[in-house]
């Protein structure tokens, strides 16, 4: 995007829309970011790498998983692989955004890709629903990112540098699974998704002892399989009822 694009009043308005929308939800992810920061140094990550984690990865769930794997002294590669599996869902966002970034250069597209997160994608979807042919969608996304990224980094850093003030007896790490309960409740929208969640959850415990600590990856695959089977089941059931 050239500077002339940016001077367009509609572009600027969209950018500020993004800033406003994000500011409204910043408090809701504050505890999660704090805990991610605290957990990363407690797990044994060096301070500089702990700061680089939210800055470069910028995806809370995978940050938390990476931290857990480091803490349980899994091999570095299994920790990286598990974190990447957590982020595979972003390929869906990438595919959805792809037709809207055709006019951008490779460098600009890289920049757009680098900051893609669940929250931003959800906000963009909402805006698209209200205004399907919005030419300023990426400017809106820039506005979202201009708040999300620095605030996420800042909150994580507060956790990294001030987290030790919180006594261990508070069990602050427990806020991570609690945060995911909220995310999970928002992400199950069909019976097959429910089946995937149930089997994925149970499998994570049953498969915990798997060699190389590949239990999380295996649990995701088990959940996926259960979801696919349930999809077929639902299909069969509806055609049977229709017939």
């Amino acid at each position: 995007m050239t500077t002339s694009h940016w001077s367009h009043p509609g572009t600027r308005a969209a950018f500020w829309d993004g800033v406003r929308d994000t500011l409204a939800v910043v408090p809701s992810y504050l505890p999660f970011a704090l805990v991610c920061g605290v957990a990363s140094v407690n797990a044994g990550l060096s301070t500089s790498a702990a700061v680089a984690l939210p800055a470069l990865v910028f995806a809370g769930s995978s940050q938390a998983v990476l931290t857990q794997f480091i803490q349980s002294s899994a091999s570095l590669w299994v920790a990286i692989l598990s974190g990447c599996v957590i982020n595979l869902r972003m390929a869906v966002y990438s595919a959805a955004l792809s037709p809207k970034v055709k006019q951008f250069s490779t460098g600009e597209r890289m920049l757009i890709a680098a900051f893609l997160i669940d929250n931003s994608f959800a906000f963009m979807q909402k805006r698209e629903l209200a205004n399907p042919k919005d030419p300023h969608l990426i400017a809106y996304y820039a506005g979202l990112t201009a708040v999300f990224w620095p605030s996420w980094l800042l909150f994580c850093m507060v956790g990294i540098f001030a987290g030790n003030i919180v006594p261990a007896s508070w069990q602050l790490e427990f806020a991570i699974p609690l945060s995911f309960i909220a995310i999970l409740a928002g992400s199950v929208r069909s019976v097959p998704m429910g089946a995937a969640a149930a089997v994925g959850g149970l499998a994570s415990i049953v498969l915990f002892a798997l060699p190389l600590k590949l239990g999380l990856v295996a649990a995701c695959l088990a959940g996926l399989l259960a979801g696919l089977v349930m999809e077929k089941g639902v299909q069969w059931w509806t055609t049977r009822k229709a017939g």
């Binding site: 869906v92 909220a182 415990i205 979801g227």
Partner: protein, 109 residues
């Protein structure tokens, strides 16, 4: 874990995550995502999150938390109800869960 190892995991995850994010925006920009992959990834999301939740609630230091650690289970159960009632409010769910984790044992002391 020393500084080099720390940076290896962080950079490894950063590069991997970037490639996923850049996949259809850049690397495969001329292709549409195959339908089966789209379906599979969407089903994987709840599986992933549920695995993180149950692992985080049930496992403590590599062991299944027994019933002496019941506040964890009580907190998770209340958090689950709050999450559904609030339609996925992270702040509300975390506050409710942490309140039960610490408040209930204190009340029953």
């Amino acid at each position: 874990m020393d500084n080099t190892q720390s940076w290896i995991v962080v950079l490894g995850l950063a590069v991997g995550t970037f490639l996923i994010r850049y996949s259809f925006i850049g690397l495969l920009a001329d292709r549409t995502m195959p339908h089966w992959l789209d379906r599979a990834l969407k089903l994987m999301v709840p599986a992933i999150f549920a695995a993180i939740v149950l692992g985080g609630v049930v496992m403590v230091g590599g062991q299944v938390a027994d019933l002496t650690q019941w506040p964890r289970y009580a907190a998770a159960a209340v958090a689950f109800i709050v999450a559904i009632a609030s339609r996925g409010s992270i702040l509300g769910t975390v506050i409710a869960g942490m309140a039960v984790l610490h408040g209930l044992p204190w009340l029953l002391r």
